[in-house]
Symmetry: C2
Subunit: 102 residues, 2 copies
């Protein structure tokens, strides 16, 4: 059984981390590296990510990219804990990565 403590909330989050993402503490972040064949595919992913951010109003805290990769960091919101908003955004970004280019 898991109560409503902070530690418990964190344990629950860890169990729910979307595929490919890693959760880290102090400050709590979710991070994932997305790898691409070339600049074109990387650019398409970045454009889709920008469109997603405009649509949802949620922006990753940090994005680091070069021609063949994009590292994304999602930081916790106001409460200092990773929550449903960050997990949801991570899932949506995963969906962009899986989406065939077109």
């Amino acid at each position: 059984m898991c109560g409503n403590s902070t530690a418990c909330a964190r344990a629950n989050i860890m169990a729910e981390v979307p595929q490919g993402w890693e959760a880290r503490g102090k400050p709590p972040i979710l991070t994932r590296r997305f790898v691409f064949d070339g600049y074109g595919a990387t650019r398409a992913f970045l454009d889709a990510l920008a469109a997603l951010s405009e649509k949802t109003g949620q922006h990753p805290q940090n994005i680091n990219f070069a021609s063949t990769y994009v590292n994304i960091t999602l930081e916790s919101g106001e409460k200092g804990e990773l929550g449903a908003a960050e997990l949801d955004l991570a899932e949506k970004i995963n969906a962009l990565y899986l989406q065939p280019e077109g």
Copy 2:
């Protein structure tokens, strides 16, 4: 007088570094942080940078951004030295930063 040695070439590059950029060695890079008032301005700069890259075929080696800043790193080309191509790209990126939004 400055000859054609590697050290001399590097000294010349240092003297020519575009405004706001910093040159570092091992590996030789040019790096600059661009700061913005908000995500909209940051996004506009990133879009202009992507358009510049598509037009010129020159891509910064690394871009790291969040809602109010963009850190750009230009790495040396094939010869392992910063050259005219990197200085030129840095100047062009500076021009994007100075350009009024619209």
